[in-house]
């Protein structure tokens, strides 16, 4: 019997697929709603605000325990708001139909073009060949290629496609899973490289356009270029330092990587030169990026993303089948729930009410508030979906910033958004961790050991960048 499947006497006859853990999670989540409904509304909060906090807690419970798919929790968050009279039905669905949803759809279509023509593979192999002088630099090559590709593709897609490339190299080098530090560092470099790289642009993770959208709803514009200017220093500082931590935690054993180099060379030969269609996709993608960087504030992120996608179809570079294979509708639904949660928290005043509670507890000290925001977001993002963690904390962070004159809402939102991508400690924290863990090269303890140190380091980096660069130099 599979260990995941509980023995028959533990199963519920009516709902055979639900484990007792799932049933308990669902019951607690709905009890929270009921409890909040029955409790008197606290001073300073409306009934809608009180119920929005209940929906937030329910969402957090369901996103952490996952008795139902993450995307379905997103849908539940949407339908419960009108059911409890928190927000009008049209308002809820209207906030789902924002341009960031279409930006995400366009970005996924563009990424499927890159995947179809193996452009991502060529980029990764070039990186690996360039850094393949010795075992240590090779692991940096893995991390750098993952980070770079996560600027232009969703991070979990990068982790999934890099995994077979890296494992082929490890097997050729006779690296024994779990016992070799080279194997551990290589796989952790894939996971962490993707996570860190995903902070850099709006494409890397859905939480990034979510942040931009929630800020836009409140009247703050962050363009594609603005995002890069704000986030890239965090990427470029974190990447080498986290790599250095991996080297310290798992010193790489003396290893002959000539076979690894041979394997890379063989793979480079196998992919061959880029086809005409591949060149066309690259040109369209570069054109789209140029438009995003320089004209997104004029034309709009979504229009550019969809324009690039349409060009891929017009030039017959991709087919609808490719889109079907690579466009995860689940993430769009998850995103929808997250954005309505964020907007609902702001509109009902629930975010401001929680913000006041936080300020009453930690005070109005800007440095302390930034530190607490980073810390809480990192802890939460390690236990649940990144986008869920950002959706829960963004409205609170935003509201806190509006109450403290020395912190701008953009700064607080960026702190939450970037911290939300730093899920290093647990397998469940992000698909990138789950994908690389399944290769068997590191244990959960290895991940926690390296991840907790990497997270501690990133808290310091993010804090320093927020204070000295964002506030001091960019004055946001």
């Amino acid at each position: 019997m599979d260990e995941e499947t509980p023995p028959p006497h533990h199963r519920f006859a009516v709902l055979p697929q639900l484990t007792p853990r799932s049933i308990i999670a669902l019951v607690i989540a709905f009890l929270v709603l009921l409890l909040f409904y029955l409790l008197p509304t606290p001073a300073g909060l409306t009934f809608a605000g009180k119920m929005m906090i209940a929906i937030l807690i329910m969402g957090a419970i369901l996103w952490i325990t996952e008795p139902i798919p993450l995307a379905i929790t997103g849908l539940l968050i949407m339908i419960i708001q009108p059911l409890f009279g928190v927000r009008a039905i049209n308002d809820v669905f209207a906030s789902f139909g924002n341009q960031a949803v279409f930006f995400l759809i366009g970005a996924f279509i563009l990424a499927s073009g890159l995947e179809k023509h193996g452009i991502h593979r060529r980029i990764a192999l070039r990186f690996l060949r360039f850094f393949g002088k010795n075992a240590r630099s090779f692991t940096f090559g893995i991390m750098a290629s993952c980070a770079f590709l996560s600027f232009i593709m969703p991070e979990h897609g990068v982790a999934a496609f890099l995994l077979p490339i890296v494992t082929t190299i490890l097997i050729a080098s006779k690296v024994i899973p779990r016992q070799s530090n080279f194997g551990k560092v290589s796989m952790l470099s894939v996971a962490y490289g993707c996570s860190i790289g995903s902070l850099g642009t709006l494409i890397g993770g859905a939480r990034n356009p979510l942040t931009v959208e929630i800020l836009a709803e409140q009247g703050y514009t962050v363009t594609f270029f603005d995002w890069m200017v704000i986030a890239m220093p965090v990427v470029f500082i974190s990447l080498p330092l986290v790599w250095f931590i991996l080297q310290l935690v798992f010193p790489i054993e003396p290893l002959d990587i000539s076979k690894a180099r041979d394997t890379i060379d063989t793979q480079v030969k196998e992919v061959g030169t880029l086809s005409h269609q591949g060149i066309l996709v690259t040109v369209i993608f570069l054109f789209t990026i140029v438009l995003w960087v320089f004209f997104s504030h004029v034309i709009g992120l979504a229009i550019i993303a969809l324009l690039g996608s349409i060009l891929l179809f017009v030039t017959r570079s991709i087919s609808w089948k490719d889109v079907e294979q690579h466009l995860p509708w689940g993430i769009i639904l998850l995103y929808g729930g997250a954005v309505t949660l964020g907007v609902g928290m702001s509109e009902t005043g629930a975010g401001a009410w929680i913000a006041q509670l936080v300020i009453n507890t930690v005070g109005e000290h800007a440095l302390l508030v930034i530190f607490v925001l980073i810390l809480i977001t990192i802890l939460l993002t390690n236990t649940m979906s990144n986008i869920g963690a950002v959706a829960i904390l963004l409205p609170i962070g935003f509201a806190i910033a509006t109450e403290i004159p020395t912190i701008s809402p953009v700064l607080a939102s960026m702190v939450v958004a970037l911290s939300g991508g730093l899920a290093f400690m647990l397998v469940i924290a992000t698909p990138g961790n789950a994908i690389t863990y399944s290769s068997g090269y590191y244990s959960t303890r290895d991940l926690f050991k390296a991840g907790s140190l990497a997270n501690a380091l990133c808290i310091v980096i993010l804090f320093a960048v927020a204070w000295f660069y964002w506030q001091g130099v960019l004055q946001i």
Partner: protein, 285 residues
């Protein structure tokens, strides 16, 4: 004694020590070795579930297949290659196969379907295997650790039938020429006597249990075996005795310990012993 040895190797954990030990055993006993490489479906499933909202069905299937292929390659290029190298100068019969499933399920099924008389395996508490097989199969399970000493420790107690342990211990002691020490543990946490058939036959006073244990070790001493008696929790006393006697191999019988006051079984005693003991353990069921 052990003519057909099953060596299960999980994609979660591979130890060369197991192969080395199997070769020394097979050489002495003229045994046949059967290596089964198990690709852990549970890990693949977990990873797939984590991605359900992020990746399309096509992408998840493709990735699962890629991981499956990678682990098959690991078995072929690393595990089976190591076996070939170790056996290059030996005359030992070996068969190898790759299966996917859950570690304990596969072993339980293999033991049911084939006539293995020993399961020889590694142990890693950091991996996600739960080692349910310890309590679910009737053939001896030898958990190989890397520490190498030169002594055998046989563990008898009020909670085990104490039939096979002294016998197998003596056979192994003769075979490897390792000194044998037998320890009888009276566990005050679960003061019952287990009979020769392995059944709990009722509560007894500590004094009576100690008297029975003393009689047991007296009998063993008369047979020329070094033996001693201790009182304390089974798991702790085993680990303490293993350290004291620098045991290379600890031989434990089919204990019937209940772990909580309500009589419900908590974490398996065998698993606790395997987790905390630095030495190899042979569970004789």
């Amino acid at each position: 004694m052990f003519t057909n040895i099953l060596i299960p190797i999980s994609s979660e954990f591979y130890s060369k020590e197991v192969l080395k030990r199997s070769i020394s055993l097979a050489n002495k006993l003229q045994s046949k070795i059967h290596i089964v490489y198990i690709i852990e479906e549970k890990t693949l499933k977990k990873s797939e579930e984590r991605m359900d909202s992020y990746r399309t069905s096509y992408e998840r299937t493709t990735l699962k297949q890629a991981i499956f292929n990678e682990q098959t390659q690991t078995a072929d290029s690393i595990v089976f290659e190591d076996t070939k190298q170790f056996l290059s100068t030996q005359n030992i019969l070996v068969d190898e196969k790759i299966v996917s499933g859950e570690f304990s399920d596969v072993i339980i099924r293999e033991v049911k379907e084939h006539h293995y008389d020993l399961v020889l395996m590694g142990f890693d508490k950091e991996c996600s295997l739960r080692y349910r097989l310890f309590d679910h199969i009737d053939v001896p399970v030898w958990v190989v650790a890397s520490a190498e000493q030169r002594s055998l420790l046989a563990v008898c107690s009020n909670l085990a039938p104490n039939q096979k342990v002294p016998l197998i211990s003596q056979q192994l002691s003769t075979l490897f020429n390792w000194p044998l020490h037998l320890v009888y543990i009276v566990d005050p946490q679960d003061p019952v006597q287990v009979d020769a058939a392995g059944k709990r036959v009722g509560k007894r006073s500590l004094k009576d249990l100690v008297a029975d244990g003393t009689a047991f070790i007296k009998e063993k001493r008369e047979q020329g075996i070094q033996a001693s008696i201790v009182v304390g929790p089974l798991e702790k006393e085993i680990i303490r005795a293993a350290k004291k006697h620098a045991a290379n191999l600890i031989i434990v019988g089919r204990e019937q310990k209940h772990h909580t006051l309500s009589g419900l079984t908590g974490k398996s005693t065998k698993r606790k012993i395997a987790e905390h003991c630095e030495y190899s353990v042979l569970f004789v069921n």
